[in-house]
Symmetry: D2
Subunit: 295 residues, 4 copies
């Protein structure tokens, strides 16, 4: 899909409108088709609300068909032609295209157990998740009854659709689908922001290897020039931020022990609101530090 302006979507033919939005909901152009009758839309929020209303008011059979139109997660056999381009990109964002054999096995077990119980694929908005949190979500949902899972699946489908809409439609307003992860280092030994501190962000994985998400330096204000994560949901999961404070203080001639009591400080925390702003600051001296969920 190529980006469209809201104006274009408001003024084009119905056929073009449906074509443009066909895959906002996986292989389900009938949703855009019904929503088209409400044109013109004042904003992207109204456009998305109209499509969501079509889904909510659809007959039970239609909703089930929508669910069944979705692929299995991390299914090698469906890669390539069988997935929409959107699905492929989304699964890659969570690293589902880079699974180890052990991870494939775990996801396969999940998918099969879920499909065996409910008769439809396990659906989750993967851009809001890490591999670990997808498996945790699965564990939580598998004991549900079918009605609860239909509701949960539709809710996930709407989150996927909101993110696709945000990517596709350029309008005067934005859907609230992005979050932010930021940090700030205060040097409370000298009473000023800590500039030039090396910062590394790692996404932790219980299943396999953790991976570095960002490497940067703090600027003159003790912050990073750009947030550690922004412009997208911050995936639910475990993270570790590491700050190289030993070399920072050494370069400033601060008296320290040998080896320094504090050298690389890890802050380990979890993200739980992908659309929220999570601020994780560090207050530090060569002999103490602290952190908190900031705002």
């Amino acid at each position: 899909m190529t980006e469209k302006t809201l104006h274009e979507l408001n003024s084009c033919s119905k056929v073009d409108f449906v074509a443009a939005l066909a895959n906002i909901f996986e292989y389900s152009p009938w949703i855009a088709e019904k929503a088209a009758d409400n044109r013109p839309f004042a904003g992207v929020k109204q456009l998305f609300a109209a499509m969501r209303k079509v889904v909510e008011e659809a007959a039970a059979g239609q909703r089930l068909a929508l669910i069944k139109a979705h692929p299995d997660l991390a299914d090698k056999t469906q890669r390539g032609d069988l997935l929409t381009a959107e699905s492929n990109a989304e699964q890659n964002s969570a690293g589902l295209d880079r699974l180890s054999e052990a991870e494939y096995a775990a996801f396969d077990r999940v998918n099969n157990a879920y499909r065996a119980k409910f008769g439809f694929p396990y659906i989750v908005c993967v851009r809001r998740h890490t591999k670990d949190s997808i498996l945790a979500d699965f564990e939580k949902r598998l004991p549900n009854d079918p009605a609860a899972e239909v509701t949960a699946s539709v809710a996930e489908i709407c989150k996927i659709a909101a993110l696709r809409t945000d990517l596709l439609v350029n309008g005067p307003d934005r859907l609230q689908v992005h979050g932010r992860l930021s940090t700030h280092v205060l040097d409370t030994h000298s009473g000023r922001p800590a500039a030039g501190i090396s910062v590394e962000l790692v996404e932790l994985s219980k299943l396999s290897v953790s991976r570095v998400i960002a490497r940067t330096l703090t600027n003159h204000d003790g912050r990073t020039d750009v947030p550690l994560i922004a412009g997208r949901p911050v995936p639910i999961g475990g993270y570790e931020l590491t700050f190289k404070v030993g070399s920072y203080f050494a370069e400033r001639g601060v008296p320290m022990s040998d080896p320094p009591f504090l050298d690389e400080i890890p802050l380990r925390f979890s993200v739980y609101e992908p659309e929220g702003h999570l601020h994780v600051p560090l207050l530090v001296t060569p002999w103490s530090y602290g952190t908190y969920r900031g705002s």
Copy 2:
């Protein structure tokens, strides 16, 4: 060597005195022999001071012979009969009997480079060190000139001897050769010590795998029933203490995010004074924590 009381050492024959203390200084009974003339000793401190004085007043050739009487660190070929029992036990304490091939290679390089430059073995009081800090110490000492290294080697030999004396001689006083590492968890969410928190202490290694030193629970006062390390020098090196705070707060019904913002908190720090008391407390809520070099 079997433990002796100071009284026994003060009242036995000179031959028995020398036999008992023969290996306080590696393969160098002449030191005990000279020190014997100063009997009786009022305390273990006086006994040790007398032996140290013999070393300090020895001729340069004798001091060099003392140095050369020591084994190479981590030398496979000297294991067994060639080392004193004391040397064997000390090297094992730092894990030098469990070196990986890569580590053996590193230690071999160190020993050979040092011996090639100075003509005598690299000596360090290994009970005060981790494998990492031994290699760091070597890097610091290799550029020295020979006179400085004779002085440094004698100083290390005296530290080794002090620890051996402390193990061997039971007297009314103690040498100050032990350190302590302790922790304390304060739950500042409820304003009381955090009891029942799972704590793990790991000795970090850059060379090879880190190893768990202690696993314990905090007691009703938020402390561990025994210090994490005590009754011996705390080896110089990097450590990581991990506290399972997520399950602690969950068990108390404290409202938390899902997943919890803080679950396992790692504190990473270095020990730099093996004979000192290093206290590393944790102040924690589900949303914040801090630590400092306590006392």
Copy 3:
């Protein structure tokens, strides 16, 4: 009353026993008289428990008589001969002998309102209170019904009696009637206890002037040589601890702003458990500080 050993009380005549303990309960020797039959007592706790049991098992009329035997708080007209020496000393401990006119008026109002409603004097264990907390306690109790106030009064009388017993009887054990207030200053700028810091403790008063309870210096361990309050209950009420950190850092040549960002740091807190140990530490750099309810 002069101090007695438990042994003396166990072995003397009944008359002497009653004479010695006559005023443990204000003007009510009948309590000691009945308790005497349980001699000998293994400890002070058993002695006190025996007297408390006499009170608890007394007829309603006797309990009321016990209550009525107590003086009004801070009643000028009862000063001197009409109060037991114990009552006088206790009231003085809370500063009730140094009331301003406004305070007298407040206490008079309290006493009169209480006596008018219940027909007996308002009783509180004043050694566990400040003037402010007595008035707060009164406000809380005045709306009670008479039965609740009889119970509350007897409970207070027992607390008074426990403190008098602790003062009078020297035995192998102690009643748990004392608390402790302590502090500790950690200099997290240099990573060591802060020695030589000037500390002042003030008991706050909403009614009249606050008064200095203690002025001292921290020792080499960052603590005070003796606790700020110990060997007695810590009176419920508001306190302010002030630490002169500006001069401490200036004397150590630490770079600071002019005037220093932090100079005198006040920590304002309330005591709520007179028999507990309240530890109020300070972690401080020239640019930051923190405190917490420690243990």
Copy 4:
């Protein structure tokens, strides 16, 4: 003086220019007269730099005349007609129009001692000061030699002039003559900004009574809707911020002691850079709190 745009000052007659800027430097229109030759000015910074250059290049006698054109601080006899309107307003900003008798006496002593030694009045940019810091500044400057005081006086005169220029001239740019004092309350018990906390800012005075500068509430982000001080220099001196955290936690049903361990928390600090941004946050639970010089 009434506000002028830079454009007006660039395009009006020289007579009008001088008239408009006559009192930027107290009773010294010759400065504006010379600076006028450099018109037009690209910005307010260039205009001010031109006037400052005139002062710096003036002959010694002229600089002394400029100094002598200034009034004594807090001189009752010069109030009214003898002071420029600007001087009057500035002295009032520091509370110099509300001096107690004791304060008048202190300022009189200062002025007379200074004038007696140097032969010209003590000059300080009072908008950057509190009464306390003016007296501290005087104590620091009185021991100086005359040359140093001429330099210091001219520097203060230029600070006064910069503030007057900033008030008078409306241009495309601003002089950096304003500072900011702000706060932020993080509730680390619940992991969110503390909204609705009552905050009071008091300017402390050693000489006389302290006065309340601001009373406000924190908003949903834990900040105050407007900074505590902004749009002017933040006067050098001592301050106390008080936060009513007891009622905040009580209203949220948080379990607390009775009375609450923490109720009103005072943070006492000094401002030392009137043109800087001083951020003084509070991290708080019912059992702990901390603050730091933020940014």
